[in-house]
Symmetry: D2
């Protein structure tokens, strides 16, 4: 049977009252940007100005990436089958897993573990790359299928520099990029997931929230794709597969 | 078999290129707030300053409403069963349907239909309320279970006034509130869903996108609840029901 | 706040006790086929022998239809993104909407409405087809994109004849097929959804359960596809789109 | 861009042709029970008579367990928010994770690993329990919150005995129950998940399919609950929480 009472530290409500982390919703509407409100609801405290600007850039950076990410296929397929907008968004969010959109979480996990060790970041980065080699692990958040250099990474770090935001995780992240090139002889530039992982780690967010930032960022894109499918395509158009070969058992009788 | 080529007008991508509605993602990261980027990705054009401020207030206004909305129960129940963060968010978004979170869409649909008719808004509001009475329809977006007066509505309209944003849908919305009181003798103040419906209608958004604004707004709240469940509660705690009475067939044999 | 106590007429449980619609689960395990148990849990009563055989044929008939149905794309896309088996099945079930898999429900709705009218089925079928013409409605459950004649329909009706099961909805369904040909001059043979709709309607099931029979039937197929994707394909292979053309706004600056 | 051609060994389709694992769908409708068809679609081959009977008992055994399992809460919450039947089923399936319904998979994984080792099952069971103790692991599939003795387990093994079905995994499963009592001094009787895990392992199914059998079994139950919610309860009734205490930051100003 259900527990009598739940506990929550997020939002208190009552007649005429909505207070998120202690702040009234009308104050939040008046004074905070959405990025600041996201920071508040997840962290429990207001961001600094530098953090607010970086959080905004992070949430904006992955707002859409065109029709090829599999979460878009998920959203459009659900919509196309004759379902509601919220089901279509849910279908896209369901696709965002360990392989698609999981790099922020995985990269932040590794960075938070290694940045917690003693030593300077260059040494740690070298040891981290040795560990990656020894365990044949790919460093998540580095390299990109499409972009040789992810343009979003440079911009995020440029903003960080401009607002004077730095920290051990960002430093480690940059050092890992160098160490990967030196030790593996491969250019694996930090992509937006790796850069985001570094910044949210310096902001003090638990790596387990990693996928969440990508989800918040991408939901408007999924919505735009759902709406485009709804208004521009006919229902149940053939979204896949192009063709198929059956290679199972031959025809047979029971 | 699948269509050869998709068409999209949202985002163009290529090596080193991500352009949302024509604008490069790095420009967007540098110059737009998340609320402006949401407006852009959904509408295809940049908002005015007034629209940007109102869109921000809308997205902030529903970021969380504590543990009682059913979408929170959906998210926490999925997480508690031993599932991933994205599945938990999807589970919450799935709950946001015609009854929970559907009022923006339904209210915008009615307002867009009636604001499209000729006549001044007071007359239209009077006729709209007559129609509601005749068809025994409840006007969506007015009244609230918990809040006698929804504090978010006043703040949203206050911001609209301050930035000088007005339009026929907002005017109609206010007129409907009056007409409901005059003709039904009931105070049914505009709630945040009705106010949002009016503002996005004046911004030119299709009512079919209505649930989308609520979903974008609420996803961070759902994430906060998923994280709180993950870090503060034991797995598969009893979330419901408190108890149950079985009133089906008596015990019997096959 | 939550209701104190739920009511349910489906299953009673207690220490050592699981009784579905009054029958002990161990009796059900011993004496009922899965198809009979499905009938029981949904209808509240045991099926006749004829109903049991038909329910089995219905549940078997749509167990899989290869890789082209969009629900398979949904399931494989979720799995491929790095998600759990249950999330992948949920992703496929989400796709089963009004357009994909909705024909049983829609067809049963129409048949239940028309079979409830007075008159013989030939007359009703003629009037129904006139109504379809007048409202430019496609009769759901008739015709098939791939199969000129759906082989499953003949088999289901053959079994019905063999076990001596008939009823007004099946008769109406057959009469509608004839009337469509006579009045529209088009061969639109009953497909498995239309045939299923007729049989479950004669069994007394509410049309609103229509999608449910398709879902129960197809879940094992979705599971087989999820497992094949998991064991035979690499993660995040490109499931779609084949290519895309961007036709949105030209490159521009903020 | 998407792969040109998919490969599949499950079902071949073409005009008038649906062949699952080589068998025509009409033969399957005529000659196979649903449980046999499930075995076929997942395994690629027909079950023996004994396997067919056990598969039926497995699929029937978990068809419903009343309103308290969290997947029922998921399904009812989605339906209650004003969503479609398929979204409600998807919502329930989403809840079935590592904690709720994951025991078949986890138990089968351990049994398949240990039954693959050399030695007789009593020795292996003893070593397995030592390993559990050493790693402080709970053996999944043993013990039950509600049932001191799960009545479904005895029935499943009784059927196995009657049809003459036995195997190394079933033997190991029984031996583990004894070893748990001898070595831990605790009665942790095999529950239906553990018994199912043993039987499907002897049938040669991959443990990674474990959750799938539970999902197939439970979907009709979830459907019955969705339908009961739809027809018997008012929309958006309060499903949870009973009440809540806010223990976050005190009221404060921005």
């Amino acid at each position: 049977m259900a527990e009598e009472t739940w506990k929550t530290a997020i939002t208190d409500t009552g007649p005429g009252k909505i207070r998120v982390r202690g702040y009234s919703i009308t104050d939040i509407m008046e004074k905070l940007s959405y990025a600041e409100a996201v920071f508040l609801v997840l962290k429990g405290e207001l961001p600094s100005r530098a953090e607010a600007e970086l959080m905004n850039a992070i949430l904006v950076s992955s707002i859409d990436h065109g029709p090829t990410p599999p979460s878009v296929l998920g959203t459009r397929t659900v919509l196309s089958g004759g379902n509601s907008l919220n089901a279509a968004i849910a279908g896209g969010v369901l696709v965002i897993g360990d392989i698609h959109g999981g790099a922020i979480e995985q990269s932040a996990r590794i960075m938070q573990e290694w940045a917690g060790k003693e030593g300077d970041v260059e040494d740690l980065a070298a040891k981290l790359v040795d560990w990656l080699k020894g365990t044949e692990t790919r460093m998540p958040g580095f390299g990109h299928q499409l972009h040789k250099v992810d343009p979003r990474t440079g911009k995020l770090f440029e903003i960080a520099a401009r607002v004077g935001y730095s920290g051990r995780h960002i430093d480690l992240c940059v050092a890992v990029e160098k160490a990967l090139e030196e030790k593996l002889g491969r250019q694996l530039p930090i992509n937006i997931n790796g850069a985001t992982a570094a910044v949210i780690s310096d902001m003090g967010f638990d790596w387990r929230l990693g996928k969440g930032f990508f989800i918040i960022s991408r939901v408007p894109g999924l919505l735009a794709h759902a709406y485009e499918e709804m208004t521009r395509e006919r229902p149940m158009r053939k979204l896949g597969p192009p063709s198929f070969d059956y290679d199972g058992p031959d025809e047979r009788d029971i």
